[in-house]
Assembly symmetry: C2
């Protein structure tokens, strides 16, 4: 314990002290400004990585390794100091050797709670927006003039043929499209590979009644907010149309009806060989960087239940489910009890199916209204009215390290459970098994740790509570028989239709299918925090595994998540790729041991 | 002269005095608050019309006629008081019998200079945006659920067939699309008729090198601003793509490849019979309201020059001109010297043509950079940085009556001519005839008065000054001969190609072609202020003739203008149509004498 542990600072004083310590190159002195429970979260600015450090020990080690390269300076408050919880916080700005940084400083009781540092722009490669936007025309007659549409047509004809893209992005959902838009702004040539016929089809092709479960204020794409008359919850086809329009507006090079078959990285040349099939024809792309933006998940987790071949009815994974109409009047069994299972159950019920849910393990359920009111305070109409733009909300969110977020969520779920006690009692009385995570931290933490086991209630829970959708809970599937499912505890559930809402594998399994088993294993699982709960084994990572940052395989990246995560982190993936394209040094602190040759 | 003429007010005091006079129903007392040179500009709130009143006499007459119906109340400042020119100004808000109003109060030297009142929302029919936006989903399982895409598909199949739209809009450019978006938000069923194959083609089909001459900050469409990386000057094809995406995003019902052949209004039933040809098939629509949104102009003004049939080369109107490539190496003559003539001349020159401009009358030219810096101060990146959103800028603009605007522009052009004296001297030395309007009020006033005779220089003037584009100035065309043009003063201009950049007729000529000569004559010319200059005969109107407001023909409307005018006035056209659909009383003050039966 140092003398600083007992000092009490105001925000400006503390930032001044940090500035002086860093300017003097004194890593230890800077680290000593943090109490034992203080966090430093860095998004590229110091580490060229996405890392959270806890306490002066980890912080000091990071600074000792990065300070000479980062050369941080010019720390200042970039906006007014605001009350935040029981402390105060302010946006900050600073510079490093390679660029401009922004961040947020949160203090509680005179001690720093969180310092967030994020790289915002690369010096000499600032994004051409606002006052730096392109003119769109040279104000001079020019016999060699090429118009915008001629340039676009030439680019489309050239890229992937005479000229190789620097980046290939596999997946044209919100992740690939958001990243594509960021890269285009930074002048990084990229091609997005989308297996469907149109951008946005990854939403359109899902089940009929799907509507986003998160509210509009949380779902903006980069650069272009939804208009103020956009519905709170976006229907899937409207989402598809938005993404398609967005891709056109931002002039993205999307190769639709194109699948990625194989990819191989040649470490010596630093070039990927990516084999794709575009509208039935084989084609090879040779980018320097390959991004998997195939969603937050990998391939469907299809469970090889014994006896499946004997089933007399229809058996499918939820990823293949589109609508309930063909199953009206039939006995429909949904295996699983998370989001897809609930949505599919309602869709089948609405189509006139007789629906039973087989719940293998307990589920975290939250009423949408409640979550909207208590869980999305900074992403709301009220927040907008208070001047909290989505950019500002994202920085506030980013300044909450995952460890701290879990603690906040435990308090939130205590409040939610008290408020909706009647709702939970009715649901439990129907036989539905509820939980709130191993440490009662609720839905968002489940999403971050395992991306499974939760449902934001938009109507299914009432059908379950009232018995209109049956529930068989507490046992897994032992085998499929001709007329239904036999559970592990011997119960039999008759079925004409079985929809396995059994979730998805990790994204690195997609890598196994396209690159190699060796590469997938070197990378290891994606997503999850190492929280130690079932499905998210330790050790503690502090950040989501492998997402949006360097992996153990050179030039292989993962980008994904819901709209909010795709929006925010696409900026950092794009900056990492741009820096590499421009040859800007990117010394990565805390990089996984690299695999040589994938 | 009343005692009030000598009183000196602060903004808040003055507004309080107005509130008391209006609350007491005292039209004369309210009018007496205005000095002789004071303006009241009203956009629907009092008059259900678009009118500017000058001085206490006109204002008192208007108030005496409208105050009982409007029942204005609750006047308040809606934002901070700001310095404006040599006076001060503030946004205001108020209520009327039918809705919510906003506006702006400008005072100079303790006297009111301008009061702007604008209807903002109809009570009970407020726009569903922000906190009133739709949920997008009912949070309840529902066996009768219709998804968003099913509803959209059903609407598309129904509207114009089983169900008639309340409004038909002729023209799917920025005018029709902006109005369509406003009407959709207000729940007014509308079909937009667009002759081209795709929304946005009205831009795409124009000449190759066309780029918007106004900057991006001035060009936003309603509800959805261009992103901050949008170019300053939008290329025509990018504009077309934006409009097409916009129409999709706002779920507009656009019938493309559809032309409007005839329209007839039955005054007894209040129903239009609109004959259209959609993809080659005849179809009849029966709306209650018909809007001409065919641009700021009517049909091309093709001049029936004698001898045209004998011309050995190619002769076309600028509206048919697409690209210069076929004319490389040829002698190209552009007749006219306004915007289209300059753009076409450059396009031909860039393609390798030998270009001569035949200038019949002098032209107002302003360098784009100069106009951007001096003329678009409130529509700029700097304005955005100062918190002047496009909505706020539009209200500041609207609070400048046209009479006052002309005076401001005279001062502006004095500055512009001094600053760019060298530029103008070089241009004049080439033989090009310059003017700045009869009262030296410059380009914007020409645009408002006659929509002709000006050019924002984006490169052509340098070619003219340097002699690379020839100019023959000061005489009209007498006749066409086999090898070129004979001018009225006897000069001969040899030509292989003649492009007549001779402008367009008034919008009411489009009405003549579709409705009847009688209706077109009853409406009279559209656009122009009655300024008394050539091409804009008096008497003084105070507003643009027939635009965005009731005309002499029942249920026939004009909507058009550049992107900025389409954005701003579409709101008022939509409110007028919505009020009529809902049966809200709309007593029009100062309506043109109606034509019975069109």
């Amino acid at each position: 314990m140092t003398a600083h542990d007992h000092a009490s600072y105001g925000i400006a004083t503390w930032l001044g002290a940090l500035d002086r310590a860093l300017a003097a190159g004194e890593a230890a002195a800077a680290a000593a400004l943090f109490p034992a429970g203080g966090f430093w979260r860095d998004l590229l600015a110091f580490t060229w990585n996405i890392k959270t450090f806890e306490g002066p020990g980890e912080i000091g080690a990071m600074l000792a390794a990065t300070i000479a390269d980062a050369r941080p300076r010019g720390w200042r408050l970039a906006g007014p100091i605001e009350a935040e919880g029981d402390g105060e916080a302010a946006p900050i700005a600073f510079e490093t050797a390679s660029g401009i940084g922004t961040g947020r400083l949160v203090m509680r009781g005179g001690q720093v709670s969180v310092l967030l540092t994020a790289l915002d722009d690369l010096r000499g490669h600032e994004e051409p927006r606002g006052a730096r936007r392109p003119a769109g025309i040279v104000h001079k007659a020019d016999r060699a003039r090429r118009t915008w549409s001629e340039n676009r047509a030439a680019e489309t004809a050239r890229l992937g043929h005479e000229e190789q893209p620097y980046v290939v992005i596999i997946g044209g959902g919100q992740g690939g499209i958001a990243l594509g838009a960021r890269l285009r702004q930074l002048g990084v040539p990229a091609i997005i590979i989308e297996k469907n016929a149109r951008a946005g089809d990854s939403w359109r092709n899902r089940y009929r009644s799907l509507v986003l479960h998160d509210p509009v204020w949380y779902d903006h794409m980069p650069y272009l907010n939804y208009p103020e008359n956009w519905p709170v919850f976006t229907p899937k086809d409207k989402m598809g149309d938005w993404l398609e329009a967005y891709a056109k507006i931002f002039e993205l090079n999307i190769w639709t009806s194109t699948s990625c078959e194989r990819a191989h990285y040649d470490a010596a040349s630093g070039i990927w060989t990516v084999e794709v099939v575009r509208e039935g024809r084989r084609h090879v792309l040779r980018p320097r960087q390959l991004v998997f933006a195939t969603g937050a998940y990998g391939p469907p987790r299809t469970i090889d239940w014994p006896g499946a071949a004997d089933f007399a009815g229809t058996l499918m994974h939820s990823s293949a489910y589109q609508q309930g109409a063909p199953f009206a009047g039939k006995r429909c069994v949904v295996v699983g009890a998370a989001s897809s299972a609930h949505d599919v159950a309602v869709d089948l019920w609405e189509a006139g199916g007789e629906v039973t849910m087989v719940q293998r393990t307990p589920t975290t359920v939250v009423r949408s209204e409640t979550l909207m009111e208590l869980g999305f305070a900074i992403y709301s109409e009220e927040a907008v009215a208070r001047g909290i733009t989505v950019e500002k909300a994202d920085m506030i969110s980013a300044a909450t390290p995952f460890r701290m977020f879990a603690d906040q969520q435990i308090a939130l779920y205590r409040e939610i459970r008290a408020r909706d006690a009647d709702f939970y009692a009715r649901l439990a009385a129907s036989g539905f098994a509820l939980d709130f995570g191993e440490d009662d931290s609720g839905l968002m933490m489940k999403a971050l740790r395992t991306a499974s086991g939760y449902y934001i209630d938009v109507g299914a829970s009432e059908l379950i509570a009232s018995g209109q959708i049956g529930v068989v809970s507490g046992a897994g599937v032992a085998r499929v028989e001709a007329g239904g499912l036999r559970l592990e505890d011997g119960r039999f559930v008759p079925a004409d239709v079985i929809v396995a809402c059994t979730g998805y594998q990790s994204m690195n399994e997609t890598v196994a299918g396209i690159v190699s088993r060796q590469a997938a294993d070197a990378v290891g699982p994606c997503w999850g925090l190492g929280s130690g709960v079932r499905g998210d084994p330790g050790p503690w990572q502090g950040e989501l595994r492998n997402m949006w940052k360097p992996t153990a395989v050179e030039a292989l990246w993962f980008h994904g998540g819901n709209l909010a995560l795709s929006r925010f982190y696409s900026r950092f993936v794009a900056l990492q790729l741009k820096a590499r394209m421009e040859g800007i040094p990117t010394p990565v602190y805390g990089r996984p041991a690299p695999l040589s040759g994938a």
